[in-house]
Symmetry: C2
DNA sequence: ATATTTAATGGCATATTATGCCTTTAATAT
DNA sequence: ATATTAAAGGCATAATATGCCATTAAATAT
């Protein structure tokens, strides 16, 4: 799909404020509401806009402990991996699970819990009980000076 | 702030679909539109809802390479840290920067770029040039079977 | 248990916004 | 220059948000 300057500005604006009204958005990007809305719908249908989400404040919800967990598996068989991915996908504390390159781990998990008790419960009762999990290395987040959701829109490519 | 069942259901619904109309939301949680909207505004003002965002599809935007970069610093002085955080905050490719515990690194960065050329440019021209950066270890993401934005709303606590 | 106070809900009228259709403008190729 | 295509703008209608008021429900004290 080809993006022009209007499309890029629409994406930029909606990444910042996903509840912008179409009229405000149209004003901001310099189009009238009709074509602006048509473009937004087109971007949604093309899958460029995948979803709209409310971003909640973890602290305010009592979720005070974020951690990254590096996981090593015993065997690198598809069954092991599928099983692991299915399980971690079911745990609401696991926000992200990435299969990564590198010598020291197969997976990197980003998790969020209320406190160290919650972390312990997650690690001991859930994650380490999944078949094939051998190594586990946890890093706790003390501070997150950067936490963006906006993807960089390479202003290169296209007119 | 105290959350009851209605509030939690509002948060859950808006985490899933941040553009739900107030009328649909009201239907879904079992309130009429007026009190529903009042609750949403209250949650926004209390900071529980921090923002509304459109979530874009990285692949569709040509951002095909995600990586995690572990960074070690030479000295752990406030100036070093502040300087580093300011710089990485200015790079649009850096989506997250976390100060973490652990022996092997001080920071964990999550970055996204178009391809390996983009990664090289980011690493060599930007990140490794920041004062104090000594060790750098990169892991590339092959697959992300879990990638949620929804925080777990511990249905415990409160009525 | 009853009265009193408080807080939150539901309904309604108005203002704002979204949406579909049609016309007009701009760009491209012949 | 003319024909053709694609996108923009304008307008009427439908849907939605919003503020105010009456009502109901809940909590507290007597």
């Amino acid at each position: 799909m080809n993006l022009d300057g209007y499309d890029r500005r629409i994406l930029e604006a909606l990444q910042e404020d996903g509840r912008l009204s179409n009229q405000d958005l149209a004003d901001r990007i310099g189009l009238s509401p009709s074509p602006c809305l048509r473009r937004v719908r087109r971007l949604e249908e093309a899958g460029l806009i995948g979803a709209y989400r409310a971003v909640l404040n973890a602290r305010a919800l009592g979720l005070n402990l974020m951690a990254f967990i590096q996981i090593s598996m015993d065997r690198h068989t598809p069954e092991r991996f599928e099983n692991f991915e299915r399980h971690v996908g079911d745990y609401p504390e696991v926000l992200e699970c990435h299969l990564i390159t590198g010598q020291s781990a197969d997976y990197l998990l980003k998790v969020i819990v209320a406190d160290m008790d919650g972390f312990q419960a997650l690690l001991l009762n859930k994650i380490t009980r999944i078949d094939g999990v051998t190594g586990v290395h946890s890093s706790f987040v003390m501070k997150s000076p950067v936490s963006k959701t906006s993807l960089p829109l390479l202003s290169s490519q296209n007119a």
